[in-house]
């Protein structure tokens, strides 16, 4: 039966790669490094990751230091990306913003992977009533537009970094659960699982040693795509004033505060936005590249 209930709730979340045959590792790697777009994505991500790690060393100024004599300046020698409405250096804030963005995105996706993969393994391996129950709960989570659900959760729990990570993690859990469940179902039928069962391995060992490694390929691809979505979600929530709280330099928050004065100076909005695009595009390119490398038949 084809039904929307069987489809992931938004095509942003439908970019799920189902990879049937696991190719050899060296082959995947070779295809990946020969894919120019994937390499470009990896380079963009490296820049963002380096900025996040070395923010204290790279940022020319304190991202929180205000300077009332240099408000809303255009890019110049002393402030490469200009200054914001408090005279803070935009370049320094964008660099520190990478840290918040990757941190929130990383933790949120870790929550989603942890919860989703566990649910999916249990659901696909044991089946039956438990499977049915988990599927129905996930249907409901899927029935919410993702940003709306995250908004509702943060709205109820209260704004802030921790609740934002939790909300984004919950929203992206079902996609991992479904992905893992589907793959688990097909692998459970394979001979090597029967062999492991016959040789006396317990369920936990079978799940960990035999099923999980086979779920890994699609999970890696999905994780790259989810990170791009999680970064966008954090930026959106912060833009709405519900995520990272000022004065912390989150890209979304910067666009939000800058947007009110955009007619006076566009720079406080332009640069954080470009930073978001670089980070998100990087994960998208890399995700597409890894998927194509695992399964070249999907490559265009």
């Amino acid at each position: 039966m084809v039904s929307a209930a069987n489809l992931p709730a938004a095509a942003e979340r439908t970019r799920v790669a189902v990879i049937a045959i696991a190719p050899r590792r060296g082959q995947v790697w070779r295809r990946l490094v020969h894919n120019q777009l994937a390499v470009a994505g990896a380079l963009m991500l490296s820049a963002v990751i380096l900025a996040a790690i070395f923010a204290p060393q790279l940022a020319p100024l304190d991202p929180l230091e205000m300077n009332p004599t240099h408000l809303l300046e255009a890019p110049s020698q002393s402030h490469w990306l200009g200054t914001d409405e408090f005279g803070r250096d935009i370049l320094s804030r964008v660099i520190w913003g990478a840290r918040i963005s990757l941190y929130v995105g990383g933790i949120a996706v870790t929550i989603a992977v942890g919860a989703g993969v566990s649910l999916g393994l249990v659901s696909g391996y044991y089946g039956g009533l438990l499977d049915e129950l988990i599927a129905r709960v996930l249907d409901v989570v899927f029935a919410f537009p993702s940003i709306l659900l995250a908004l509702g959760i943060v709205g109820a729990l209260g704004p802030g970094l921790t609740n934002t990570m939790l909300a984004i993690g919950i929203v992206y859990t079902p996609v991992y659960a479904r992905l893992t469940r589907g793959t688990t179902l097909s692998i459970r039928q394979r001979e090597f699982v029967a062999a492991a069962t016959l040789s006396g391995a317990n369920d936990l060992r079978i799940l960990r040693r035999h099923i999980l490694p086979n779920v890994a390929a699609p999970l890696i691809v999905q994780t790259s795509l989810s990170l791009s979505l999680a970064i966008l979600a954090e930026a959106s929530l912060s833009f709405l004033g519900l995520g990272t709280q000022p004065p912390d330099p989150s890209w979304g928050t910067m666009v939000n505060t800058g947007q009110r004065l955009i007619e006076l100076s566009p720079w406080p909005v332009v640069f954080p936005g470009l930073a978001i695009i670089v980070a998100v595009l990087g994960f998208n390119l890399l995700g597409d590249g890894i998927r194509d490398a695992f399964d070249p038949r999907l490559a265009a």
């Binding site: 039904s3 929307a4 509702g152 998100v280 595009l281 597409d288």
Partner: protein, 317 residues
């Protein structure tokens, strides 16, 4: 066919009940409860007043009973009153619903109008410069935050095309049809970008798949003009998965509308929910979320039913 539609419709009921349960639980997630929120502004209240208010809101009842009572009142059309204004919520929601629907619908039309031709061109001119441009456009569309694009569009129009298009506010179609259309054009475009990118990628890969099929070869072999091969044979089949994804994407558009409405000061459901969150007016937030999510579920139902009519390949029993 009718059996399929009936069964598909019945399947929606548990999802809707689940939605209402999640939205109900959300109110219980807040630190303290609604009464604390209301009294937060009044300062301290006597324990009697607290108990009295909790009784009014039914908070002295066990959770399952609270839920059943709440659901029963929803079904009778009573969505409660705003904590802040004491006005009944339902009329406000119903007044704002059309704005959000119109925005999402216009964004969908904008995306499809751009995505399908670009996707087709990209697939036909595969591995050429045109294809590369379209693919880069698609990747960019996926990566640009809609709120940033909206800010940039506002900036562009206000600096260089002042007065060409309104950059904030909403005109109802009852007052001025064209004006209403114009008032939502920029917001719809900002909302459409990511959706367009997804549909374009889908059209492209679906077309590539279809062009490989034997019936396309047959059509070409019998000497059919290429244009007819593409549009009559290839595109019609290639569009089936695109339509499915478009239906699913309505959810993204309804969710994104929350952000876009805020930027363009549109009086839709999204701004209602956001105002509700910032004023901690939780019954309003609940009602807004419920309507947005339920709309999404019903749109998916409609797409599935439409599907059953359109696609003769799938047998529905």
């Amino acid at each position: 066919m009718i059996r399929y539609i009936a069964r598909r419709t019945l399947l929606v009921v548990p999802v809707l009940i689940g939605l209402s349960f999640v939205v109900f639980l959300m109110l219980r997630l807040i630190p303290g409860d609604v009464v604390d929120v209301i009294l937060g502004s009044e300062g301290s209240a006597s324990p009697e007043r607290l108990a009295e208010l909790r009784k009014i809101f039914g908070l002295d009842q066990p959770l399952p009973q609270q839920y059943v009572a709440w659901l029963a009142s929803l079904l009778s059309g009573d969505f409660g009153r705003s904590i802040r204004t004491s006005r009944p919520i339902l009329p406000d929601v119903l007044a704002r619903l059309p704005v959000t629907y119109q925005l999402a619908a216009m964004a969908m039309v904008v995306s499809l109008v751009l995505a399908v031709p670009l996707g087709v061109v990209s697939s036909v001119k595969r591995s050429t410069g045109v294809d590369a441009c379209v693919r880069v456009l698609g990747l960019l569309g996926l990566s640009i935050p809609n709120f940033w694009l909206a800010s940039m569009l506002i900036l562009l129009v206000s600096q260089h095309f002042r007065g060409a298009l309104p950059t904030y506010g909403y005109v109802s179609p009852d007052q001025d049809l064209l004006g209403s259309f114009r008032s939502l054009l920029l917001p719809a475009f900002a909302l459409a970008a990511a959706n367009m990118a997804i549909l374009m990628r889908m059209t492209r890969s679906s077309m590539l798949e279809v062009l490989r099929q034997e019936y396309v070869l047959t059509a070409r072999a019998k000497g059919l003009v290429e244009r007819l091969v593409l549009y009559r044979h290839a595109l019609r089949n290639a569009l089936i998965p695109v339509v499915t994804v478009a239906g699913v994407q309505v959810g993204y558009l309804l969710g994104g509308a929350v952000i876009i409405e805020q930027i363009f000061a549109l009086p839709g459901l999204g701004t209602l929910v956001l105002n509700g969150i910032s004023q901690r007016d939780y019954p309003v937030v609940q009602a807004g979320m419920l309507f947005i999510a339920a709309s999404f579920v019903l749109v998916n139902l409609a797409v599935d039913v439409l599907y059953a009519y359109l696609d003769p390949k799938i047998h529905y029993g």
